[in-house]
Structures are given as C-alpha cells and as structure tokens.
C-alpha cells in the first residue's frame, strides 16, 4: 500500500516531487520553483490549460510537506486511476500525446512560459484523453532562449512515431529499453533512407543525430551577449514538429486480432448471450475498477466502462489496441484506457533502482479481472499451466470472470493444428479443479450454442 513515502518515479526534477500520505498522492513544490509556480498561476496559464483539458487540475492544500526544509507549497492533483507508459500505448495514443505536448508548449508561450521538459511519461490518459500530469513542467520564457526540451521531445515522441510509421509498429517497444526516449542516432540508422527526403525528418532526426555526435562532449565557452532562437523561430520549430507528427500515420490492417469483429467464432445468439452473462456478473460484483486481459477491440471491456467503471483493456496486438483507442476517441469514452500488453511478458520494473517505471502488477490491482477467450491461448499457445494462470490472476484481483474454451472448440483446434497435443490435462474438470485452489466458483453458465463456459470466481 502507498503509505507515507516519496513516489519512486519522481526524483529527476529539483522543482518538487510526488509523495504519498495516507494513501493520497501529493506534490511538494520546492522553494527553488516558487517564482515559476507563481507565474504559472498568476499568468492565467494554469487555469487556461485546465479549462482546455490539457493539464491535470490540482488543489493547494495545507498538508505537511514531505521535506519541509525545502518546501514552498503542497498541492493535491486529481488522481489518475491507472498509470500507463508509452511502451504500452498504440500508435494513435503516442501521436495524440505528442500533439498535446506541442499544443501545451504553444499555449505556454502565449502566457510567457515554456515547457522545461517534454517527457512522454508526463502524459497520461485521463477521462479518455491525453493530459499533462506534471504541474511543475513550466518555466518563465525568455526571448532568445532555445527550447530546452527539444531533444527530449524528438527522442520520446518523434523518433518512435517515425519508426512505427516507416518501419514497424512494434518498434515502439524500443521505448522499454530506452527510457529517456529512442536515441536519435539509432532512430536515424533504423529509418529508411527515403526519410532523408522528408525535410522535417531530415532535420529533426537525421541532422539532429549528426549534430549531437559532432558536438558531443565539446567544452563550450559561455557568452551571454547574444541570443539566437527568438520566439518566431521557436514557433517555426514547433509548427514543423506538429506538421510532421500529423503526417505520420499507421493503420492496422489484418494484424493478428484486429479483424476480430468479423472472424470470431460465435453466432449472433451466442455472442449476445455471452455479453448478457458478462453484464450480469458485472452487475452482481459492482466493481470500481476492471482490467480486461486479451480485450481485443474492447467489446466486452465496454460492458464495464459504459457503466462508468474505470476499465483498462489490454491486448497484445497493436492493431486491436489502435482500433480500440480510435473507437474510444470517436465515442468520447471517459472510462476506458486501451493498452498494449503481452501477458506472457508483462511490463517489468524499469529505470533507476528498478523503481522508476513500475511493473504491471505494482500499478494496482483491479476489483475484477475479465479473461475471456484467453486461457486456451496461455495454456496451449504458450505452455503456461492452469496453475500458473490461476496463481497470476489471483495475485491480481479478488474477482474473476473467466471463459473456458474446450479442446474441441475450433479456436483451440486452430492452436493445436501446427503442434503436438501434449495437453492431456486440458479439460473443464481440470480447469475447475486447479482454479478452485485459488478461487471460489460463484457461478458458471455455458454460452448458448457453444461448449464454452463462463465462470464468476471469487478469490479464496
């Protein structure tokens, strides 16, 4: 439980940090940031960004600071139900996060301030939209001063988006190994040669990588007499970044699951029945948070999110997650966050002290897990036993809605078509016995016209 400790991800910026007290998240603002914080509030920038849904709202509170000797003020930001990371986002999510960062920078310049960092980790999906969660990312703008966060923006947003768009959408996973964004020399090497003929990519990636190498470690004699990046120049750079990011696209074609809606194995009556059972179970448990594992394009996740239940819809397929995200944006859905996740290799602890970016399991435990048409993939395609699956799910949540897909089902047969059937224990009886070690089976129903069975289980 998060009790009275400093948030492990919040340590790089000396302007302040996040800390937990009695399960509530606060942000301490240090004395060194006093002037910039005052300007943020007094200039009207804070209110304007909050009104436009670009910055997380906060309240100034009288809570005792975590480090009183350094403190100027304590604020309490609105709580984000689930923290996600850029390597879990689909192409469209990263693109929207990039565009909102540039919009915030333009907005800030209008109010005489500028973003002093542009980390993708400062953006979260809240009420269906990307939003900046770091209220200390602003500093006073001084005409002539370059944009300090330009390199970070290119590494965190432009490089991965260009690689995903021009090479392969799975290259977003490079963000997992490079937590301060993809190094530009690496991006430059991986991008196809033709990107040299795209002026924004030529400059912001390829030339950027060359100048970085050329001037790396050069000792510079500082001279304060001249300033060369004026406001118009900075707006020009921002406009160029905005234009290239808008141009970059990726469309899910027939990736593994993205055509699910037209290929699933149910008749209409079975599908309707399955939805009805899931809905009934959700009503019975009334969870506040749901994680849907193997959510595909989110058909069943929406049974929860449409009831105003904060729902995270995980899927391994970037195409399915992209379609799910587009659908949630089109429907202005506020309670659904689609994310990419490989269940067999969930996001690990990363960064400094292995505590900077947290593993999936450490980022909360939902009241209820949905695991529909998933178990046969884990057991048969990935050789994970019922016991391992049940233990993992019991670690995550108290309630479970799970579907058992028998061996004779065409989808299970498809998984077995290219391999030897070594799964002698794969049966409904064995499934119930093993899951019964960790969960109490509260109810179960066979889906109409199928041999599949849905269970509602409660952790013992």
């Amino acid at each position: 439980m998060n009790q009275n400790k400093r948030e492990s991800a919040s340590f790089r910026d000396p302007s302040g940090f996040l800390f937990w007290r009695e399960g509530v998240l606060f942000r301490q603002i240090n004395q060194t940031y006093k002037d910039n914080y005052s300007l943020l509030i007094k200039s009207g920038l804070y209110q304007s960004l909050v009104d436009d849904g670009l910055l997380i709202p906060h309240e100034e509170v009288n809570t005792e600071p975590y480090e009183p000797e350094k403190a100027y003020r304590v604020i309490c930001p609105e709580r984000i139900p689930f923290i996600s990371y850029p390597y879990e986002w689909s192409f469209g999510q990263l693109k929207d996060a990039a565009l909102i960062t540039l919009a915030i920078q333009k907005h800030s310049l209008d109010f005489g301030m500028t973003l002093k960092d542009s980390s993708a980790y400062n953006i979260q999906f809240w009420r269906g939209k990307p939003i900046l969660i770091d209220s200390l990312s602003f500093e006073k703008y001084e005409d002539g001063k370059p944009w300090i966060a330009y390199r970070q923006f290119c590494q965190h947003f432009l490089a991965p988006l260009a690689l995903m768009s021009y090479r392969d959408v799975r290259l977003s996973q490079l963000l997992r190994t490079h937590i301060d964004g993809i190094p530009l020399d690496l991006a430059s090497k991986l991008l196809p040669f033709r990107t040299h003929f795209n002026f924004p990519l030529l400059t912001h990636i390829h030339l950027h990588a060359i100048t970085q190498k050329r001037y790396a470690g050069k000792k510079i004699d500082l001279d304060s007499s001249n300033r060369v990046v004026n406001k118009t120049g900075m707006l020009g750079i921002i406009s160029s970044l905005e234009s290239i990011i808008r141009q970059l696209n990726w469309n899910p074609e027939e990736t593994e699951w993205a055509d699910y809606d037209s290929t699933h194995n149910y008749t209409d009556a079975s599908f309707k029945h399955k939805k009805l059972i899931v809905k009934t179970y959700l009503e019975r448990v009334s969870p506040e948070t749901v994680w849907d594992l193997g959510a595909n394009t989110g058909v069943f996740s929406r049974l929860a999110s449409q009831q105003m239940i904060n729902t995270v819809a995980f899927d391994i397929d970037p195409g399915a997650v992209e379609l799910n995200y587009r659908k949630s944006v089109a429907g202005n859905e506020k309670y659904l966050v689609p994310l990419i996740l490989d269940m067999t290799n969930p996001s690990p602890d990363l960064g400094w002290h292995n505590q900077e970016r947290r593993s999936l399991i450490k980022r909360g435990s939902p009241d209820l897990l949905l695991a529909l048409a998933l178990v046969h993939h884990l057991v048969i395609a990935n050789n994970i036993s019922f016991d391992y699956v049940a233990r993992f799910m019991a670690d995550l949540s108290h309630w479970l809605i799970i579907e058992f897909v028998p061996k004779e089902d065409p989808q299970t047969q498809r998984l077995l078509s290219s391999r030897e059937d070594i799964f002698v224990d794969y049966s409904q009886k064995s499934f119930e016995k093993v899951f019964g070690i960790y969960f109490q089976i509260e109810d179960s129903v066979v889906i109409k016209n199928t041999k599949r069975k849905l269970y509602l289980m409660k952790k013992i």
């Binding site: 390199r151 030339l207 750079i237």
Partner: protein, 74 residues
C-alpha cells in the same frame, strides 16, 4: 558566423532558471539553425492569406473580403 562564435552565442542563456535537462550541445546548435529557417517560413505561413490577398488586390484593385465601402462626404 563561424562555428565557435555560434556555439558561444546559443549556449549563453541556458544558466539559471529551473532547467534540469541537458538540452545537448548538438540539439541547441541545430535549433538555432532551424529557428532561422523555420521562423521565416512560419511568418510566411501565418500571414499567407494577407500576403495572397495583398498581391491579388495589387493586380485587381479589389478590396479584401469583409472590408466595407465607406461613404465619403461629397
């Protein structure tokens, strides 16, 4: 502008304030070049309609859209 002078110039304003990121020397140099190039383009683009209308007016003598006739005292 020679290389070293350029470096001196663009590094000057980065001390103080709350900057904690290392902006990178190469990134700053590139930014200053791009600012000159893209800043000009930005002005052109932001004022493109005005420029276009101005040129059109110059050749056709037409008034800009929305501009009203003003009655002159006779």
């Amino acid at each position: 502008m020679n290389g070293m002078l350029f470096v001196k110039v663009i590094f000057s304003p980065l001390k103080g304030n709350n900057a904690y990121l290392d902006p990178g020397s190469g990134s700053l140099i590139l930014q200053s070049i791009l600012a000159a190039l893209l800043g000009g383009l930005f002005i052109l683009r932001s004022n493109w309609k005005k420029i276009k209308d101005g040129v059109v007016n110059l050749f056709t003598g037409q008034r800009e859209e929305g501009e009203e006739e003003v009655d002159e005292p006779k």
